[in-house]
Symmetry: C2
Subunit: 215 residues, 2 copies
DNA sequence: GCATCTATCTATAAGAT
DNA sequence: TATCTTATAGATAGATG
């Protein structure tokens, strides 16, 4: 074996870093991967520990999309409890595929163009227990058309969440989704209803007088 | 000062916990708050460190929505570097309002219904530098109508991302975020193009042969 | 590049105030 | 109920194979 010099004998362990853009490209990439993984793990833990619903999307500086979400909260919980849940029968993405799922734009486009069918329809049209979501289907279809219209100009990402509830309290189930069209030339953009929340200073974002639970 | 008993003299410090749903309600709430904050912080750091774009949405078990996002990547970077950026002139939500912003459904609904205008239009219709995104506007409008149609049945959350790029490589700017209608009775639901990614086992999610950058 | 390793750094569970 | 205080669990920067 080789004799390493004294300085390289020991790892120096973690060092503190400033929160500013990492210059060295290789380091940036490594950090991106590590932290993205860590972020998604944290999100998963939050879901399980607190019965929360969460979704996260991260675009790398190169424009690659990474998505965290869960097909159903149950599936994620099962996963974290080490149970093996068959989610395929529900027509949803297995949790382990999604939690750290990578999405590559060109691939998505290809998939979209091919419009692969199975069992007589798009997979997402497959019947799900107690479906009856005509509106959702209608919405989805319309959304598709619209997206196509602007696909060459903007990146549109859509998240649709449909939750179940037994009582009035805890939503228990979910969906997540994604997708992105390929941006080619762009501009900055506009957003929605969130601004009014940002009325003035920090803690005043949410007005009083609502009876919804705080958690 | 008081003499505490020996057992309470010292904090016991952190203990290991299992990743499973927390039973005690008070603990769950505390944990939810702490971890949500932590998650959003991590997301912000990822954005800054790696020049990435990120957005995250968390629903508490009570159905309250919390959103992490950034109006422009620049604004978030400024924030983390301690610079004070005036984002109001761009018609975007100041970063500090968004990063840990809380969104309460009923409030959002109220805002939406009131359709508050300023300066002759919805705030999000305000001109932004180099706007020219007719398609985006068109899309947004259509989306609104569609969403109304299904608002009573499903919770729809839409994220629209429009990015800038100087070179062909790094998108540099913007995101936006948005909102959800109140679910009342629901079902589980369908999703989109993601399933094909989940073809079979883990690492094979993304097919080879594309020339896009890995980061 | 990807998987490990190790020394630290950071987040946070329980309590105390 | 919100904050503050530890001790400790967990995340991760940098080095290495």
């Amino acid at each position: 074996m080789e004799v390493a010099n004294v300085n390289s004998r020991k790892n120096m362990g973690r060092k503190k870093i400033e929160i500013r853009k990492i210059e060295k490209k290789s380091s940036l990439e490594v950090t991106f991967s590590k932290r993205r993984t860590g972020l998604f793990k944290k999100a998963g833990e939050l879901c399980v520990l607190c019965g929360a619903e969460a979704a996260a999307i991260v675009f790398s500086p190169g424009g690659r999309a990474f998505v965290f979400g869960h097909p159903t909260a149950d599936a994620v919980i099962d996963r974290f409890l080490g149970r093996d849940t068959d989610t395929s029968s529900r027509g949803v993405v297995p949790a382990e595929q999604v939690v750290h799922g990578q999405v590559q734009r060109q691939y998505l486009e290809a998939v979209e163009r091919s419009e692969v069918k199975e069992e007589g329809g798009f997979w997402w049209d497959a019947p799900i227990e107690n479906m009856g979501l005509n509106e959702l289907e209608q919405f989805k279809g319309s959304l598709e058309k619209l997206r196509e219209k602007v696909a060459d100009r903007v990146t549109v990402m859509t998240l649709m969440m449909v939750m179940e509830s037994e009582s009035g309290a805890g939503p228990s189930s979910t969906t997540m989704v994604e997708y992105a069209a390929p941006p080619q030339e762009y501009n900055s953009s506009a957003v929605l209803h969130a601004r009014d929340l940002a009325a003035d200073s920090h803690s005043q974002a949410v007005p009083q007088g609502f009876d919804e639970p705080r958690f």
